[in-house]
């Protein structure tokens, strides 16, 4: 089975600070990382490969420093990586991103071998739209299942997937080729291993494609190909925590204390009213 996994190179949002004087984001000196929610998708692909054989190819549309992230994913055991990078791809919204990714996947199918399955993470930590996967599936006209927690191979042409939702579980049999996104924390990603890292480094397993390779219309990619308009951004001020610690005698006592706190707090009282109505 040939599995493509999409991974995004994102700023480490944990480390992005807001300048107290200007109110703008400080990104200087903040190293990017592989979107953490994409690693379970990589893990899912590796587990599938271990069972049915084949190849795992990681794809990322990103600027050149993302090579560092691709090295990490290759270090986990992926077979190769394709970095799709070009100045004209910069500034893409989800539409333009998914367009480029879907064309890269088609190119992999044509030049490396038929792609059976495309896996994605659930969302990114820097934009978290969860749009890219569905859009890629639409461009490719393949079926799409999201928030999947496990995948079982079913012969050569299908997989059985499970989705764990809040109140129930679902199971689907999906014919290949297909696009599947993996739920956050569905699988624990394996660490980088010495042998995989060594292999990746010695055999130079990262391929770079620019628009000279993909030959896409510059009007359909990057900023120019992005119809999304940002109407307004709003800063959410940090709410200072009250840091109260209460040591209850028992759970009842704890519950009483919490309810009392909620009723005493003006803002919380409003929220509570919205939930339980005026009887509060």
């Amino acid at each position: 089975m040939r599995i493509v996994v999409g991974v995004k190179w994102v700023p480490n949002t944990q480390a992005v600070r807001i300048d107290p004087e200007t109110g703008t984001l400080i990104r200087k000196g903040v190293p990017s990382i592989v979107n953490p929610h994409d690693l379970p998708a990589v893990e899912a692909a590796l587990r599938l490969r271990e069972r049915v054989g084949g190849e795992v190819i990681v794809v990322s549309m990103a600027p050149p420093p993302a090579v560092k992230g691709l090295e990490l994913v290759l270090g986990m055991g992926a077979d190769r990586a394709v970095l799709v990078t070009d100045r004209v791809f910069a500034g893409a919204d989800t539409w333009a991103t998914s367009y480029v990714l879907s064309r890269a996947i088609q190119k992999i199918s044509a030049e490396i071998g038929r792609v059976d399955l495309v896996l994605f993470g659930h969302e990114t930590i820097d934009s978290s739209t969860s749009h890219v996967q569905a859009q890629v599936a639409s461009w490719l006209d393949w079926p799409y299942v999201y928030y999947v927690s496990s995948i079982e191979p079913l012969g050569d042409n299908a997989v059985r997937v499970e989705r764990e939702l809040e109140e129930y579980e679902e199971e689907y049999v999906v014919e290949l080729p297909a696009v599947v996104s993996i739920a956050i924390k569905a699988m624990k990603p394996r660490p980088v291993s010495l042998q995989s890292k060594l292999r990746a480094k010695l055999e130079r397993r990262i391929i770079t494609w620019t628009n000279a390779d993909l030959k896409l219309d510059p009007r359909c990619v990057g900023l120019k190909g992005s119809p999304t308009v940002v109407a307004k951004t709003v800063d959410m001020p940090e709410v200072p925590r009250k840091k109260e610690v209460y040591r209850p005698r028992d759970p009842k006592d704890a519950a009483r204390w919490i309810i009392r706190k909620m009723v005493e707090d003006e803002k919380l009282r409003e929220v509570m009213k919205g939930i339980v109505g005026d009887e509060l």
Binding site: Q14, G29, V30, L72
Partner: protein, 97 residues
């Protein structure tokens, strides 16, 4: 005494921690195995990142802010604290130090 500019106000540890970059591992790399005999106050005051704190009588260890300096390691015995490095290059990412 003269009024100090705002940048010269003493910063809390939490504020200092916001200056740093980690790629936090989901796997815990340091774990208290046996609290008995550990220098509790020393761990709380000396761990530069404040990873150790007390919840009532219990010593809590939050590995997320650890900079892998080894101080709690030399203050303990192998049977008291399991101490390993994070894998895959995770953990603290120093830049200007």
């Amino acid at each position: 005494m003269s009024q100090a500019p705002s940048r010269l106000k003493v910063m809390k540890l939490e504020e200092l921690l916001r200056r740093d970059v980690w790629d936090v591992d989901e796997e815990r790399h340091i774990e208290v195995l046996k609290q008995e005999g550990l220098p509790l106050k020393a761990l709380q005051l000396l761990c530069p990142m404040g990873c150790y704190s007390m919840a009532g009588e219990r010593l809590l260890m939050s590995y997320e802010g650890c900079v892998e300096c080894g101080t709690c390691r030399v203050l303990s015995k192998p049977e008291q604290i399991r101490w390993e490095f994070p894998r895959s290059g995770r953990g603290i990412q120093y830049r200007y130090t």
